[in-house]
């Protein structure tokens, strides 16, 4: 029987917990500045990019803190197709693709546990 070609290892498969695109990879680090989309229009210098990044960090942190503040609170979701639902917010997944909610009040009844697809949500509000 002819020998098979040796293989160092198998190709790495997807990470079950995220969508990948490792921000620590050499390619991401090298090409990242050009991916701040707002900055690519105008020829910006590093100071402006730093300012923009600082603003983005502040906004991102505020957003993440609102997700924490929302836990176990009643939240009203405005969604496409004039859908307005209310539910008790549980958690978000890491890429903010789905919200886990309980006691979702819908026009056709109350769903005990549900997942809301974030791209379908236009806005949401809750009382602090």
């Amino acid at each position: 029987m002819r020998p098979h070609v040796s293989v160092l290892r198998l190709p790495r498969g997807p990470d079950p917990n995220g969508r990948g695109f490792d921000p620590n990879s050499p390619r991401f680090i090298a090409l990242c500045p050009t991916t701040i989309s707002a900055s690519t229009e105008t020829g910006t210098d590093s100071v402006q990019i730093r300012e923009e990044q600082r603003a983005r960090s502040v906004l991102r942190e505020s957003f993440l803190r609102t997700l924490i503040a929302m836990t176990n609170k009643q939240v009203q979701f405005h969604m496409y197709e004039r859908v307005k639902v209310e539910a008790k917010f549980g958690a978000s997944d890491i890429d903010v693709l789905n919200f886990q909610v309980s006691e979702l009040h819908t026009p056709i009844g109350v769903q005990k546990e549900a997942l809301l697809r974030c791209q379908d949500v236009i806005s949401y509000s809750f009382d602090l």
Binding site: V5, V7, L8, R12, R19, G20, F21, R27
Partner: protein
Amino acid sequence: MAMRQTPLTCSGHTRPVVDLAFSGITPYGYFLISACKDGKPMLRQGDTGDWIGTFLGHKGAVWGATLNNEATKAATAAADFTAKVWDAVTGDEVLTLAHKHIVKSVNFTQDSSCLLTGGNDKIIRIYDLNKPEAEPQEITGHTSAIKKALWCNNDTQILSAADDKTVRLWDRNSTEVVKQLSFDMSVSSMEYIPDGEVLVITYGKTIAFYNALSLDMIKTVDAPASIHSASLHPDKDFFVAGGDDFKLYKFDYGTKEELESYKGHFGPVHCVRFSPDGELYASGSEDGTLRLWQTAVGKTYGLWKCVLPGEFSLTIGFLVTSLTKALLPRLLDLAGSWWFQTSSV
């Protein structure tokens, strides 16, 4: 002693892989994107098959996927009636282009400034990515769903293949047909090789090669089974093809002789493409996997390691591969038959 091919299996998709594309060679190597009916196209490192990321956002099967030369942008065509443009470094969705029907094909110009789309609404569209809100230029004429639309002749012309059994060459500016090829059956795939202006078309059991500028036929080769996709090696010495019988075939382009056939996939092969350096070719199958195959079997490249006779690792490699060969097919067979039984189309 001639070595036996060890294909590298890239898992991760949960439905059939229907299209794949390589980028050009970048300072970070080259990359591979795969379109899958599970709606989640994936980006992989081209020479190893290592997963880099998944483009999340489509709400239906993804029928076509492509990368620009620098692998900084990706584009996908899906059954959710949209084509999407992605940042291939961050994985973020950059643009959604709404269509009126299933989109099947996407293709960037060399400078990534324009995107060509084609699909079931029978219209070819050209989007200016610098002005995405502007209405796309439309090219009409096909009488059936478009399978593939590609830029050619330095992005001055467009080649399209549709279910109306024609392949048409269009002038980009006039949007008129320059030349047309008619076949007895639907064309299953099309590949355009800019260097040398060669067009590779598959239909039935035939792999046909045409001059992309004149649409004159160069040669045709018949395979043992119905072929879904074929790819010509950059040096134009070999071509590979795959289709209904699950096998990959390797032919000599000059003599048209069938050189080798490889088993490995557990379902029909839907797409096959050579890497930009010609060292490997990737195949996508109904079985939900991508496989990477060496052009020169036994050469050290990517994850393949050439082992000289007498080396200790040859024995280990041989033991590992023969154990894997013995056990894995049984496990995959069980998994494969379960999967085929339980999955719905």
